[in-house]
Symmetry: C2
Subunit: 291 residues, 2 copies
């Protein structure tokens, strides 16, 4: 299942980019958009979405594919904008030049914008399969990205004089994971409510893993400069819990995520997949202690 969901994600993203690359697209914008999306990172969020949809039977794959692509496009857009000089000023991403390093800041700004628009366009294009569900997915995704509680709001907390740490993490990392888990359920025609917790727990686990990689200087795992949290005085789980405490927290969150999976036809396979993915989350140096 893991390999199949992976290739579905790549195919759905490639279809979106091929549309963006048609005439009359300015060629450098098209190239920058592709650079931002391919080759990808772990595709963790869209794979979670497809795994949840699959566990629920996935009766309309056109909708789950569109929602998975939308979530990954929005994640890529946030990375492009976060890497820009006015934020992290990161020259590398996924082991390659970041979009602004390769194409300049103006095109990086436009690339992020175009990817955000492409996400919602992708959902609108899937509407013929079921317009009401497509609209529900569009709303889930929009809430996970915009104000007041999405990743843009999460990033904006970094500019506030007083930071609400819980709201910050929930918005910056958690929101898109919750959109992935609840979006997968909605795409499969299920009630999203019981699927919130797995998204919340995996989002938090992912944040702790990222904090570990950043604090331990695992640039190979990050594919981007490490030590950014300390440099930007951002909250980091290793600073508050220590390395051992952060690893224990990561393990606990993954266990809670698995325990929260609602009854559904593919619950067992989904639990296996989450455990498999969780092993990849931890920095390579720590993988034995987490696995």
């Amino acid at each position: 299942m893991a390999t199949e969901t992976g290739s579905r994600v790549e195919a759905a993203l490639d279809a979106v980019l091929r549309r963006a690359e048609t005439q009359p697209s300015p060629p450098t914008l098209a190239a920058a958009m592709r650079h931002a999306v391919f080759p990808g990172g772990g595709r963790v969020r869209p794979r979670l979405l497809l795994a949840v949809a699959g566990a629920c039977g996935d009766p309309r794959p056109a909708l789950s594919d569109a929602a998975a692509a939308a979530i990954e496009l929005l994640h890529c857009a946030s990375l492009v904008h976060d890497d820009m000089p006015c934020f992290d000023d990161a020259a590398t991403r996924r082991g390659r030049p970041s979009v602004h390093a390769a194409f300049g800041a103006p095109l990086a700004l436009l690339t992020g914008d175009a990817l955000i628009v492409a996400a919602f366009e992708t959902l609108a294009r899937a509407a013929p399969a079921d317009p009401q569900t497509a609209a529900a997915l569009s709303l889930i995704v929009a809430r996970a990205v915009g104000a007041p509680g999405g990743i843009v709001a999460g990033q904006a907390w970094e500019s506030e004089p007083q930071i609400d740490v819980a709201a910050y993490h929930r918005a910056k990392t958690g929101a898109l994971f919750v959109a992935a888990s609840t979006g997968g359920a909605v795409a499969a025609g299920r009630d999203p409510g019981p699927w919130r917790v797995i998204g919340e727990k995996l989002g938090e686990a992912y944040q702790v893993a990222d904090d570990l990689a950043d604090a331990l200087g695992c640039e190979a795992d990050l594919g981007k400069p490490a030590g950014q949290d300390a440099a930007h005085a951002r909250p980091n789980a290793v600073r508050s819990l220590g390395v051992g405490g952060a690893v224990a927290r990561l393990e606990g969150l993954v266990r809670e995520a698995v325990a929260s999976i609602p009854p559904c036809p593919g619950a067992g396979a989904l639990a296996d997949l989450v455990m498999l993915q969780a092993r990849r989350l931890a920095p390579k140096d720590l993988v034995r202690s987490v696995a």
Copy 2:
């Protein structure tokens, strides 16, 4: 009708911002979003959308209101990003500090992103009125903003070594006007095809008016620094046609726009409104020769 559409636009935008301002929104982001949207400029695009919907009977105002708000939010987002240091580096907009001047570049970047997301969220929220039409509107709006032919693509042409001037103008200014005219028709349940031309012509007229204001240094009309086209070596109708030629072109485009109005219950009132708006388009110093 003009006053009524104006107050509908303001009310629809205010409702969007009030949602974005609720807990747990970071307060500075909420303030920056409001700064970007209020007080507005001419609200030319959403008023065109509501005027076209009105001319077609406007049977579902929840949809036309949502589409009008979405189009204005996307226009405001493009202004916020265009004003940023990596583009025009404009310190003023609508006679006040631009968003990056007032709130800094990081928040300006996030504000534009949040406004783009809010536009699509607004359309998704209107879906209960008619999910299929809401999806059609979302697609119209996305095409007008993203790649390959929307305003983001238009802006991206400025970074290309060789500029396709026709594609540049069609994308940068025309696309959102076409979305306004065709979106108004779709929101009212009509075929969008016959409503493309009025959007194209008014978009081009608006571009010529903007070129005139920029070339003639009418900062009061622009509400932003003039002379930007020459400074950034961008195409400008005054450079290619001269002042008299540009004014004649503006008049001709407005006449063609009016002549293109398809048969519909409110065709006469719409023609009057377009002529009235056109007088406001031209720089104040030239208004007598155009009126």
